[in-house]
């Protein structure tokens, strides 16, 4: 079920809120669990069992790790757990990638398994895995109640597109959480903004990207328009979802970690990755990079660690070479920044922003390509390769048609509006005006989103495929 859909907003969510806030505290997790399973089953009935099995395996591995008396035995169990979870992810997400590449390399014709990718498997597998690792490390207590663990893994607000919530971060809240009007107000604001980001901005930019892909009138200008539109689209799509997840979490009394912090104002790619998909970045840092030795090793090993983390980050996003290249592209840039570029960038004035956006835009062209052939073709097109004309009628038309959305998206990707609102809120009269206006604005936004939903059908979330 999509957050940005009428069934979710006006049928499912209202039912869940009523049930959740009517039942006593001890049963709230059961309501959350059952409603999350229903939420998942709505999109993937057949894969509910897989998620339940993954949760049960996480529960058992957690218990086993805790009950092992020796460090060696704990490590062995952890190893089995990681292999099991990576195996599950590998089978459902990567099997055909490996078979296809094996066939290409050997000339054999091993039949593809054609396994459908279960929604959100990358997110919930990582969450279960981090739970077992945290129990092993002693940073989280083992959860004896399988329903509580299942509630953590399957929580519908963040189940299918993150943020990747660490068990240690919410363990206490799963048992004893505070529901308050202040928190609910924060959640409502966040959810409404996320919904608006997704429906009003991301979907419009997504349509523009689809139009470009189907166009027979491509030009250098149109390639760039597409690249910029997709760069904004993926930000609004993904951060919009994260905002909705965080907002819903707050309404249910849960605090999820932030996932985005205005990444497009970064002054380096290093900083960009501290602001983009933060829950994934910190997951790989804590569960891969640091265990490999991080930067407290020799230079070559350190560079290898960076390479390994970014190879995995790219591969996590999808079973396709363009995702691997996308990850390694960032690995190379990050290595260069850490070795040479960071001090130079600090002195480069506004150039550093252009540098970041140029590299990020190129990266998302690779990211969104169907394969590397398309990625090369699109990047080539951006620089006039293949005799593409500089400008075309469609480029001009769609630029004019999307100008306002692009401007709103561009400005909204910076903290400008947030800062203005903060300044107004700091003044007594301004705060009063905001208090009066806020519910009106939020209701107008939700009504506008509803209008777009009722009229339109173009509504996919990008990160569901990961």
């Amino acid at each position: 079920m999509l957050f940005s859909s009428i069934p979710f907003l006006y049928y499912y969510l209202a039912c869940v809120f009523i049930l959740y806030f009517l039942v006593p505290g001890k049963i709230k997790n059961i309501v959350l669990l059952l409603s999350s399973l229903f939420f998942y089953a709505w999109g993937e009935v057949s894969y509910v069992a897989l998620m339940v099995i993954t949760i049960l395996l996480g529960y058992l591995f957690g218990l086993l790790v805790e009950r092992c008396s020796t460090a060696k035995a704990k490590k062995r169990i952890l190893g089995i757990a990681v292999i099991t979870f990576v195996g599950i992810l590998g089978y459902y997400k990567y099997a055909d990638f490996f078979v296809g590449n094996f066939n290409a390399a050997t000339g054999l014709n091993v039949p593809l398994l054609k396994v459908a990718l279960p929604i959100g498997i990358s997110f919930y597998t990582f969450q279960v895995m981090s739970y077992v690792v945290d129990v092993y490390r002693g940073t989280a207590k083992v959860q004896y109640n399988p329903f509580t663990l299942a509630t953590y893994v399957s929580m519908f607000p963040q189940l299918i597109a993150g943020p990747i919530v660490r068990y240690a971060d919410v363990a206490e809240q799963l048992e004893h959480r505070v529901h308050s009007v202040d928190k609910a107000a924060l959640g409502i604001r966040r959810f409404a903004m996320g919904l608006s980001k997704k429906i009003l901005i991301a979907n419009a930019l997504g349509e523009l990207c689809e139009i470009f892909k189907a166009s027979g009138d491509k030009s250098v200008a149109f390639y760039w328009l597409y690249a910029i539109a997709f760069t904004l689209h993926i930000y609004y799509d993904f951060s919009g979802y994260s905002d909705m997840a965080i907002g819903l979490g707050k309404i249910f009394g849960l605090d999820f970690m932030e996932n985005f912090n205005y990444p497009y104002i970064s002054k380096s790619i290093t900083e960009f990755w501290r602001r983009w998909h933060m829950s994934l970045g910190t997951w790989f840092r804590d569960y891969v990079y640091i265990p490999l030795g991080g930067n407290r090793v020799g230079k070559l090993r350190w560079l290898f660690n960076i390479f390994a983390v970014w190879f995995l980050t790219g591969f996590w996003h999808g079973a396709s070479w363009n995702f691997i290249v996308w990850g390694l592209y960032f690995a190379v840039i990050l290595m260069l920044e850490k070795l040479v570029l960071l001090p130079l960038l600090e002195k480069s004035g506004p150039f550093k922003h252009l540098y970041v956006m140029f590299l990020v835009i190129l990266s998302f062209v690779i990211f969104n390509a169907a394969d590397m052939t398309e990625a090369f073709a699109y990047i080539g097109g951006m620089f006039g390769a293949g005799g593409v004309p500089m400008i075309s009628a469609e480029a001009v038309y769609y630029f004019k048609s999307s100008l306002v959305v692009l401007l709103i998206a561009g400005v909204g990707a910076t903290p400008l509006c947030k800062n203005i609102v903060a300044k107004i809120r700091n003044k007594k009269s301004g705060a009063l005006v905001l208090e009066i206006l806020e519910p009106v604005v939020l209701i107008c936004l939700i009504l506008l989103c509803t209008a777009f939903l009722v009229d339109g059908s173009f509504n996919p979330f990008l990160y569901f495929r990961f």
Binding site: M1, S5, I6, P7, Y10, Y11, L13, A14, F17, W42, G43, V45, S46, S180, V181, D182, A184, A185, L186, I188, R189, L200, A204, G216, D217, A393, E394, Y397, K400, S401, S402, L403, V404, V405, I408, E435, E438, P439, L442, I443, I446, L447, L448, T450, A451, F452, L453, V454, D455, G456
Partner: protein
């Protein structure tokens, strides 16, 4: 607890649960007048539909179709899309010079080729070794007149017309684009206005002359009292003023008999089905709407010739003005009758045969049977 937060949560809760309860308990609407389609009903809930995911998909369609104040929400979206976000079109529809038009773009070569092949099949199968005289004309859609002046993407219409002439080089092409202007079309509908087709420089005269006929009948201009909300009113969801529907009639037209074979059995109809003015699509008053096969007998014809017309809905309002030159007119819409079956209903001999189609239909000709 901040008082402002309490107010915010209270207002949002009332709004949210109010909307939700409205969705849950609102009665089911059968039909959308604005979109001219049957609305989705609550889907069948069975083990099979749930496991296959059909129930979920159909439930979403149901919730969208049955959403309270659906038309009003669609209007809000259209206004926001065109006004607030300044997009050039909403669902490919736009408003320019007071007219609603559809962005007809790009030119679909495959579709034109498909239309050409279908016409060629009809010619080869029924008309190749006969004395029929073949004529072909293309009706430009409103986008042809509005696109370039208003900054919209436009297909190369000249290439379109030339391409269709190439595909139909065994017919005499009648160019009517040069005698039409945007004022000849309804503001809120795809079609042209019948009263604008008459006159010395009108489409009817141009086609008649090309086919060797002279139009002499005079007509009384009748205006429907009902407002005419064209097909684009519902599709665009914009708050539009209605058009006025006018039709031309006289005693000779009234004396014509018109038989529809739409259901296989002959059914008598009228040149102008006035009860359609109160129906879902008032334009369907012309020649009984979109019937597959019509035969019109004209006892007051000025010649003893016969006319066969392969057409779309634009011809419905044009043909009454051409009838005077023919004793019998057979009107065929191959979107609703298989081309292979025509031999059962008509024998081609020495008739005039007119193919007249709009750019809208030719550019998406997969509907031809």
């Amino acid at each position: 607890m901040k008082k402002s937060n309490l107010i915010l949560v209270s207002i949002m809760a009332v709004f949210f649960f109010g909307m939700s309860f409205f969705c849950w308990f609102k009665g089911v609407d059968e039909y959308s007048d604005s979109e001219r389609r049957v609305l989705a009903k609550f889907p069948k809930l069975t083990e099979g539909t749930v496991l296959s995911g059909t129930f979920m998909k159909e439930f979403e369609t149901y919730t969208l179709d049955q959403f309270p104040f659906r038309d009003e929400f669609r209007s809000i979206k259209a206004i926001a899309q065109l006004g607030l976000f300044r997009q050039k079109a909403n669902n490919d529809l736009y408003m320019a010079d007071g007219y609603v038009a559809k962005v007809e773009y790009p030119l679909n070569d495959y579709m034109l080729e498909n239309a050409g092949k279908k016409f060629q099949y009809l010619y080869d199968t029924y008309m190749a070794n006969t004395d029929v005289k073949l004529y072909f004309s293309v009706v430009p859609d409103k986008h042809y007149f509005l696109a370039s002046d208003n900054g919209y993407l436009s297909m190369d219409y000249e290439k379109f017309f030339a391409r269709m002439q190439e595909e139909t080089d065994y017919m005499q092409y009648i160019d009517i684009a040069d005698v039409l202007s945007i004022e000849d079309y309804y503001r809120t509908d795809t079609h042209w206005r019948q009263e604008c087709l008459l006159g010395a420089d009108g489409v009817a005269n141009k086609i008649a002359e090309a086919m060797g006929n002279t139009l002499t009948w005079e007509y009384e201009q009748m205006t429907a009292s009902q407002p005419f909300y064209g097909v684009y009113v519902g599709q665009s969801a914009l708050p539009l003023e209605p058009d006025t529907l006018t039709y031309l009639t006289n005693d000779m037209l009234k004396a014509c008999t018109i038989i529809s074979y739409d259901t296989g059995k002959p059914v008598e109809k009228e040149i102008y089905e006035l009860e359609e003015l109160d129906g879902r699509d008032p334009y369907e008053m012309f020649l009984a709407g979109s019937d597959a096969l019509l035969v019109i007998d004209n006892p007051n014809a000025t010649t003893d010739k016969e006319l066969v017309v392969f057409r779309d809905s634009f011809a419905s309002s044009l043909l009454p003005l051409l009838i005077e030159s023919y004793q019998k007119v057979t009107v065929i819409d191959i979107r609703y009758i298989s081309s292979g079956m025509l031999g059962d209903f008509i024998k081609f001999d020495n008739q005039d045969v007119l193919f007249i189609y709009s750019t809208l239909v030719l550019n998406s000709s997969t509907s031809f049977k």
